[in-house]
Amino acid sequence: MPKVLIIDDSAVMRKIIQRNIQQSGLLVDEFVEAGDGREGLEKATANNIDLILCDWNMPNMTGIDFVKALRGSGQKSNIPIVMVTTEGGEAKIEEAKNSGANGYLTKPFTPDQLKSKLGNFLLVK
């Protein structure tokens, strides 16, 4: 069963994302949380993570730096990453994709938008 890592400096946002996934019918066995990119990098490499949801603007290590660091690490570098961020616009989406992100969702989002975005990476019950 899939394990999902949620990286966001807001604990409230991590809870909202987790609740929306649980209520969506998407199959997830366990959630792992991190408050910034640096912690996310540690948890992504220490756990058998199947999917990563990552914010952009965070202290210590931003989301885009996390994506570049994970993709360049050689370890677990092929885990799908979906950016979930207030950063919108074509340039940011392009930058994220060029850095190795597999999906992009701007906040605020509806539960259906989140489900639709993650449906590419997770099975539905």
Binding site: V12, T86, T106, K107, P108, Q113
Partner: protein, 175 residues
């Protein structure tokens, strides 16, 4: 375009971003009125959630609200009944400010080139406890007073019977 005109356009973006946020993640009723320049340099409030941005223009987008409204919004977002003004409530206010500012910034970027957003900062006032001569504590309902040399362009909103404002400070950056 003069800075006042740009600010009014941005205020329209603030209204649109706030409306979208309330329709997607907060799910509370929302009414709003026309934006206005706040003459008073001292804005009194309980809670301020603010995000600054830099680029061709720089400034601050800030949410000014009561503690009661902050609790209501955090409770709705978390689908639980929060009664204490905890860090979780401040976190929720920060996220609300962040989502409004993020959406406004995307629109500004499309018009004026790349801009950078700060991480949200939340400031909340606390009740001031004064011990009287007869040793009976008197708790005063204090509010924050936010000072600014430039006038805020305020957009007033009402949700669940509670008034809140989203303010904008904007300046053109030096070339």
């Amino acid at each position: 375009m003069a800075i006042e005109g740009i600010m009014e356009n941005v205020a329209s973006d603030i209204t649109s971003a706030t409306k979208t946020l309330f329709e997607t993640m907060i799910m509370l009723d929302l009414k709003y009125d026309n934006s206005f320049f706040e003459d008073d340099t001292q804005i009194k409030t309980d809670v301020i959630g603010m995000v600054s941005f830099t680029g061709k223009y720089h400034g601050v987008i800030a949410l000014f609200c009561s503690k009661k409204f902050a609790l209501k919004v955090a409770s709705t977002m978390l689908m639980t009944d929060l009664t204490d003004f905890t860090n979780e409530v401040k976190d929720a206010v920060g996220e609300v400010s962040n989502m409004i500012a993020g959406n406004v910034k995307t629109k500004l970027t499309a018009q004026y080139g790349e801009m950078n957003l700060s991480i949200p900062i939340v400031i909340a006032g606390e009740g001031l406890s004064i011990t009287a001569v007869n040793n009976h504590p008197v708790v005063a309902e204090t509010t924050l007073s936010c000072f600014s040399k430039d006038p805020w362009l305020m957009t007033p909103f009402i949700s669940s019977g509670e008034k809140f404002d989203v303010g904008l400070l904007l300046k053109e950056s030096s070339k």
